[in-house]
Symmetry: D2
Subunit: 148 residues, 4 copies
């Protein structure tokens, strides 16, 4: 329970439908593992084709994951007819993304009519414990129609 | 010509070898299209499996590209025995990444013994012109050995 | 000439009136030294009461200056009846702000109906040359009435 | 209690001495109101000379406060002989800084030998309650001697 009141009664369906439309999330194997108003967790298993030069998960994968987690956390609070776009984000990469899988925890910090500010933390599962590998602040904008 | 003096005589080989070790760059189809001291361009063609829900290139792909471009721009100035890691970055997504391909221009703003600050701009090739779709500031750190 | 077309014929007056209302700019001694559509430079002289512990200009002063320069660069392109607020910014502090005075160069990167993205570079005048001491990316929002 | 172990037995004195050397903190009336290993709160009363054009505390003051709070939170964990410099930070300004006083809560997220990552949240005291007006992520670097 976050205390946030969703503005779309079918917010869960809306998130799942939009997420399913992101081919890149399927390409990297990300899936939704938690979905509540203002809260989305995404989980991704390590794969040999997602790595950087030292064999850890690539920072580009980590940031794609944390961006989508925060975007859908924001989108879960949007009104019917509104779409979500990331306008900007900042990420601090704290440790190498070692481990068997990553979980990105997207959370709404402040909802707004136009801009919604989120944070997103990424944990790597390493030998039985979850280690914080990245933390981010992000701004999401509600747009009336998809930007075409 | 950037005026930067590379500290490794074989900086081009070093960049190509490290880049080739990033399986994720191969997964998304990124390739090096310019390499000079303090300068790296990466180019990526649009593919159906790299998209967000409106059919444009996913912001996660755009940021993976701009991060690697800046990282290798920094790495091109590093000394032998030094590796590069991104410590943090911030990206403003200015327009949807429409178009047939993206070019990320990574540039060193200020080299340093420990930290190197870069910027990275991403252009989308749309109907004969290059449109700025993202701009970023990034910090890269030189580490003596790969973070294992 | 920036190619930006101001939407308010009296944009210069609007900037000067709003700037004069910022008591904090007077407190730190900042003044407008360049004003064109999408462009604002602010200049500030070093004073003993604006320093950090090593006797250089405090990063808080540097960032206040670069934020206001960018904010008024954006505001110069706004429509009548619109006010400006900073929604977020990111600054890289590249070198200590040594020198007799600072100039912050605020520039619009991408104007927009709601959000305007700017960059802002701060130069310190040191022994006859201008040294880049900070670079920033910023988002400005146009609001219909002052946020009261 | 944060679980962080200070590396300097006199960390409290070191913070107070360094803070007292920042003339700008005195200029804006900031003072330390909490100091523990990895934790620093700074408090500042609203004054008429610290405002923006709508009469609220200027974003430049808010960011100076949150930057110093985080910087000293990091510095509290540094070893003897080390100084602190901010290398970069990102702030989201969530609401106008209305109210009688501000408290910036600087917290270490991840200490490091070279870089320490912090967050800093600023609350405005408005009519009996504390409202989050800004949130930031910051990188601090330990340097052996003051950058002169």
């Amino acid at each position: 329970m976050t205390g946030f009141i969703p503005q779309s009664p079918d917010f869960e369906d809306r998130v799942h439908v939009s997420f399913a439309g992101q081919t890149f999330m399927e390409t990297i194997g990300a899936r939704i593992t938690r979905l509540e108003p203002g809260i989305v967790d995404l989980t991704l298993e390590k794969r040999a084709d997602l790595c950087q030069q030292h064999g850890y998960i690539h920072a580009g994968v980590t940031t794609a994951l944390l961006d989508s987690a925060a975007g859908y956390a924001a989108f879960s609070l949007f009104k019917p007819g509104e779409e979500v776009l990331t306008t900007e984000f900042k990420v601090n990469l704290l440790r190498p993304a070692k481990g068997a899988f990553l979980v990105a925890e997207g959370r709404v910090v402040k909802p707004g009519k136009t801009l919604t500010v989120c944070r997103s933390d990424v944990y790597a599962h390493q030998g039985g414990e979850d280690v914080l590998v990245a933390t981010a602040l992000l701004s999401m904008i509600a747009v009336k129609t998809p930007a075409v």
